[in-house]
Structures are given as structure tokens and as C-alpha cells.
Symmetry: C2
Subunit: 420 residues, 2 copies
């Protein structure tokens, strides 16, 4: 996949060194992102800056709702709402009827995970990079059903040990109810070897739920290449969509084996007083009511990402993050904490003698947005590695070398005691 | 409760006949509601027109997010976000820590209902006005757990027979797991006798879940007066808040007896690798991620409603609806279908020889917004009464006598064959 030709224009001199990404029109990306004029935004793994088109789409629909009524406005944009499914499907290589829209990645993931009918013999298999809320859900469900949780250790590279996973699935046999994997953890720049996991789960015939909350929008994610049966994602992070949006991919092959945790008049048809039938697509995992403006904003953000091309985005984000890791390694007292063989736009590090919260607060004063990944919320990742809270700088394609240089300069000053 | 003095000013001549509501400043309400200049909005039970302050609040926050980042914007409005809980609590007479915010009334209700640990001996008790999605959830849960559903019949007035409910609870004893009641149905102008039901459930010691989706915002709803343990509501309907908002009231006395259907890092604290503790307020029924702009819009809408005063709103809405029912009764071929002793702003009717869809479409051409309540989605209400699809005209305090006259005039023309 390549970016359409209109994105390749380099008529304006690039804001960025040609070495990083010669073919990516960073100037255009920044012109179309009002927030780049206000802040140095390196908190894209929290929530990225929306492009103008996403803001305009949302605001335009909210205004229409206020003018003509919420249902009447929804009817007026019926085709555009429907098109969101097609856009999301295209983004991840699925079919539109395999997509359910959701209020967040958390709720999308919940609708998938809690749809498994677990019993005391069942085992949920996961890894040390699993998102903390997912682990809480495993413990919650284990308490209710008697199911157990099996943690596959990391390999030497600090990512899930795929050979150990395979042995675990062999050993468990039919007791393995599902494999749940977080594609990119919130507390680490690593990219989990999802496709290798998918190969193993397919061979073992075990359902594979991929939490792609931090990967969709920064990596080219394809459900067929990965081989997952379920995938959840959010809008607000790398996709640059509004908060309060997310989606769930439910493959045709798994849909009828799951029981949606909740149903309503949208998910099911009430065919007689005491009988209902579930609808025959992934929307059985949705509810009827939705913030239509937010959904249209999600669609606009996905279309915008597709316009740049996910391969081009992945390459640029990866190159910027690699450059940042190299620069960080030159600052005395700064240690990069990312693990794994393949890394992404998330860069985690700590600064000797400084609390992560303090570092983030100091950077914020210079209008540089970063965030803290907390050890208490990453017990299996940071916790097991013996690392405390870390600073997280997460880059996007609209960031520039100059912004990374600013971060490095501020950190150098901080370490040298010239600020704070 | 009375409207604050600034709302009582009648310096401008009222747009409305003084007979209906002399003290309600309808002109001001309409000035502050841009949509009243565009449409005759009688679809307030679908989604009401937002006041300008709600639109401005949402748009303002979305712009801030695009400028400084989603998390950074959230941090900047932390106090305002927190205040939403206080506003909602004040609206329904609860304490702020008894409020959970949600993405919709459906999801708020789901988080409450699915939190009951049902077994084969348990009985869910409900009435014939119960919202269809709730009934689907009962059937869904019954299929999974073996629990059964008991339907309490209506009385002569067409509302839940409270004496029959009492007998049912006596008979069931500890098998009665909960009573679920829809306060105002979507397909009928009746107001269920919620406080009488609350008296019975309290006496029987059975948990009482009230679906107040259609009542909050048009009626003065107080959880203590009603005596419910749980109450769910939406923002988009009579509260005039954004789509994609809702809330759940969880009384202190029931919170620890329920197990939230989903948990995440916001609902629970991860205290050790294999252990979590639920937070000690109603927010254990929330998820961490939320559309902050929509939540702030909800808060603005609640504050706006409180500014008018819920008693004043209830009186005006009720008076307008009563006037409309009287007028409808004078149109040949039009039959009002509302039941119950106490009625609200929802007015349902059918027109002899005309499909409800056709009537609504004709009215829409004159920029009059109404909607269809479908018999297939109201099997226990319209279905059991032998009524087909009905037209629903739902009034709000910003509607005027002139708008009702327009509706009557259009319907008269329709009946006389002068349109369509």
C-alpha cells in the first residue's frame, strides 16, 4: 500500500530532515492538524491530535442535530454512517459485516471477551504484555466461573514466547478457551509477534482475541495476516478519531460460537413475546444508541489514515521513534525501557533520580505533551521487569525532528539541573 | 422546587397562550434553542433539541482537544467533569457517589441488570410497559441462567397493577430477584406508578430497577420518593443532552450486592498480580474511557434543566400534552392511544386508514418532527392492546400552542385528503 499521489507532493520544503521520511508530506500533515501549532504532542498513545477534517465532521453533525433534531440528523446522514463500517473494514482487511462499532476499545474488548462461555475447566491464555484492564477482566471472570488464567512468559527479547505458547496450547488441549494478546502494550514500545501467535492459535484451533488498541492507526494491521478471530481497537489514539469511539472485528468463523454479553433491540429481533433471534452480523455486539457525531468522526479519521496509507504511516512513525530512542541513549541518566524485536511509535524511558510524574510535568511547562506509564498498572510488564513508573513519549507522523530535538534538549537540561 | 427568578421574567410578550403556563418563559427557551427556528420538533422522546449552551459546551471541548490533546484537555476540565456527577445527583435526589456515567441509557441499564447473579430459581418481575430491549435482556439472561420472567398484568387504567405486583412478590418470596419497571414507556404517554411500586418492593425487600429513560428531564424524578435501588436514564431525550450519554444511579444499599458485568482499571484496583478490589462507589459500573465532550454536554444540559426547575418543566410539558390530546380528539379518524392515570409529554395516536409511517413522512414534509412507535417493538404494550403502529408526538417546554395548532391543522388536512 502506498500513499495516494496527492500526498507525495514536496512542493513546499519539508519541515523534516529528508533522511527520516523523504516521501511523507509532513508539512501538509501539520497544516491539517491545528494542534501542531499549539503543542509538541508526544502523547499519541494517550489520544492523538485530530486532523481538522475530524473536528469539522463532528462539529458539523452536532450542529445539524441541534438544528433539526438528533434522529432527523441521523436519518440525513444514514449513508455516511453506514460507510463507517466499510472504512473500518478496509483499514484492517475485514468485511464490513464483521465490524461492530463501540463506545471505546474497552467496551469493544469487553463485548468480545465476556461473550466466551467459560466454565471451571476452561483456561484463558495470555502474556505478560497484556493490558491491565484485560487482566482484571480475566480475574473477574475467573472468580465468577472458576476458569483459570495461564500466563505465557516472555522470551529473551521481552515479548511473548511463541514456542512456550505452543507448548501451553498442546498441553491444555480443549481446555484452552482462548488466547488473548495485546498487540502493542501501553507501557512499552514493543510490537507483539501477533502473526506468529495467530499461526499457533490457528493450528491449535483456539480462538484468538487481539487487543489492537495501541496498534491500529500506527501499524498496518490486517486480520488475515495476523489470523485473529476477534480484534478490538479505539479511535482516539493513533487513529486520531474522537474520544468515545472504538470498534470490534468479529470474524464470521467465530460469531455464532459467542453469546453477546448484552443484547438489545438492535442486536436482536423480538420475534414473539418469549423469543428473540440475534442479528446475523457483527452488530449483534453493538447497542442501538450511539453518538452519531463521534461515529462519523471515527469514519473521517479512518478515511484520513487510509488516504496517507497505513504502510507509509507505519514507516514514518517507526523511523521517528527509532531516531528518538537513539537520541535518548545519548542523554546521561536516561534509560530507554522498550523491549521486543519489533518496535513502534511508543518510546518509554526513565530519568535517573527523577520521578516520571515530575519529568512529565516539567515537559508540560514547555508545552511538550508526554505521559506516565505506571508500574502499578503494568504489573506483568514493568512490574516483572523491576522497572518503576516510566515516561512515555509516543510519536505520530506529524511530529518533526525539531520536536524530538526539543524533547532531548529539555531532558538534557533537566538532567543537568538547568530546569525544574 | 421553583424556577429561579431570572426565568420568571415576562418582559417580552409570551409566544404562548398565558392559559397554558403563565410563568414559563417560553420565548427565552426558544431563543436559547436554535433548532426551534428550523423545525417544529415534536420528537423529544426520540432526541430533543439541545439548548445552545449544550452545543457550545461540546464544541468548545472538542476544539480544546484538537488544540492541546485529548488527555491534556481532560486534565484542564477536571473540576467540570467531576461536577457532572453532582449535577446528575441533584437532578434525581441522589448523592454524587451513587452516580455512574454511561454511554447510553441502554448501557447504563445493562450494567445494572446484568449485575444480578441469577440462577434457575430466580424470577425477574416486570410489567407490560417494559421497554422492549429490557425484555430481550430478560429472555437472554433466562436462556443463560434458567431464571424465569414473571409479567404483572396492567390494571383497568392500563398501567401496572400494583396490587397484583404485591401478590406476586408475596407468592415468590425470596425467589423474586428484582422488579424491573419502565417509568414512561416509549410507546405510550402513561407514567407508571413508580412510587407505589417502590413502596411494594421496599416492603417485600426486593431490589427495584427503574428505567427512567423517557421520564428524566420531563418529570421531577426523585429516587427517595420513588424508592428505587437502581435507576437508568439517557441524556439525549428530555434532558436535551448529547447523544451517546446516559447515567446510572446505584444506591448505597444495593451496590455491594451486585457484581458489575464488566470491570476495568477504573472500576477496580489491581492490587496484586492475581487480585483486585472494586472501587467503593457507583463508578465501579463505569469504564475508564469516555467521550469527555459528551459528558460535559450532559452536565450542561442537567444544569440547564435545573435552572428552569423540574417542577416547572413537568407542569408545562404536561399541560402542553394535555392540550394536544384534547385537540387530537376533535380530529375525525384520529384516536389517542395513551393509557394510565397519570400522563406525560408523550402523545400517541393513530389516524384511520393511514399508516403511521405515512403520517410521520407527511408531517416531516412540513418540517414537523414526530415518530412512529412500532407494535413489533412494543409487543407487551401495543401488541397486547391490539393496537398497531402509532404516531408519537412528544412535546417539550419549548413547544408552543401555535406548533400544536400546526400539527392539528396538518392532520386535519391529511384526514380530509387535502395533502399526501
Amino acid at each position: 500500500m502506498t500513499a495516494p499521489s496527492q500526498h507525495d507532493s514536496l512542493a513546499d520544503p519539508p519541515a523534516d530532515s529528508p533522511a527520516v521520511r523523504p516521501s511523507f508530506d509532513v508539512d501538509r500533515a501539520r497544516r491539517e492538524t491545528p494542534g501542531t501549532r499549539e503543542v509538541t504532542h508526544l502523547n499519541n498513545a494517550g489520544a492523538a491530535l485530530a486532523p481538522a477534517v475530524v473536528l469539522e465532521t463532528m462539529v458539523g453533525h452536532l450542529q445539524l442535530e441541534a438544528q433539526v433534531g438528533g434522529y432527523e440528523a441521523a436519518a440525513a446522514v444514514g449513508a455516511a454512517s453506514e460507510a463507517v463500517y466499510g472504512s473500518v473494514a478496509q483499514l484492517i482487511g475485514a468485511a464490513p459485516h464483521e465490524i461492530a462499532l463501540a463506545e471505546s476499545a474497552t467496551r469493544a474488548w469487553d463485548m468480545a471477551f465476556y461473550a466466551f462461555g467459560l466454565g471451571p475447566d476452561d483456561v484463558v491464555v495470555t502474556g505478560e504484555s497484556e493490558y491491565s484492564s484485560n487482566v482484571l477482566a480475566f480475574l473477574h471472570r475467573a472468580r465468577r466461573t472458576g476458569a483459570t488464567v495461564r500466563l505465557v512468559p516472555n522470551d529473551q527479547a521481552g515479548q511473548i514466547d511463541v514456542a512456550a505458547l505452543e507448548r501451553t496450547l498442546d498441553e491444555l488441549g480443549t481446555r484452552a478457551a482462548l488466547v488473548s494478546l495485546t498487540h502493542v502494550p501501553t507501557s512499552n514500545g514493543l510490537v507483539s509477534p501477533a502473526a506468529a501467535v495467530g499461526e499457533v492459535t490457528r493450528r491449535a484451533g483456539v480462538p484468538f482475541l487481539l487487543d489492537a488498541c495501541q496498534s491500529v492507526g500506527q501499524l498496518a494491521v490486517d486480520v488475515t495476516t495476523i489470523g485473529c478471530d476477534l480484534l478490538s481497537a479505539t479511535g482516539r489514539k493513533y487513529l486520531r478519531a474522537p474520544r468515545g469511539t472504538g470498534f470490534l472485528y468479529v470474524s464470521d468463523r467465530i460469531r455464532d460460537r459467542l453469546d453477546p454479553p448484552f443484547i438489545d433491540l438492535h442486536a436482536a429481533e423480538w420475534v414473539a413475546e418469549d423469543r428473540y433471534t440475534l442479528r446475523d452480523d457483527a452488530r449483534r455486539f453493538e447497542s442501538w444508541e450511539a453518538g452519531v457525531a463521534a461515529r462519523l468522526g471515527l469514519g473521517a479519521a479512518v478515511d484520513y489514515a487510509l488516504g496517507w496509507g497505513m504502510d507509509a504511516i507505519e514507516a514514518r512513525v517507526g523511523a521517528l521513534a527509532a531516531r528518538l530512542r537513539e537520541q535518548l541513549a545519548t542523554v546521561p541518566g536516561v534509560v530507554v525501557r522498550d523491549t521486543g524485536e519489533h518496535r513502534c511509535g511508543i518510546v518509554t524511558f526513565d530519568v535517573a533520580g527523577r520521578d516520571a510524574d515530575d519529568v512529565v510535568a516539567q515537559l508540560r511547562r514547555a508545552r511538550v505533551n508526554t505521559s506516565v506509564a505506571r508500574a502499578a498498572s503494568a504489573r506483568l510488564d514493568l512490574g516483572r521487569r523491576g522497572v518503576g513508573d516510566v515516561v512515555r513519549a509516543s510519536v505520530h507522523y506529524y511530529n518533526t525532528d525539531a520536536e524530538l530535538d526539543l524533547l532531548i534538549s529539555l531532558l538534557s537540561d533537566l538532567v543537568a539541573g538547568r530546569a525544574g
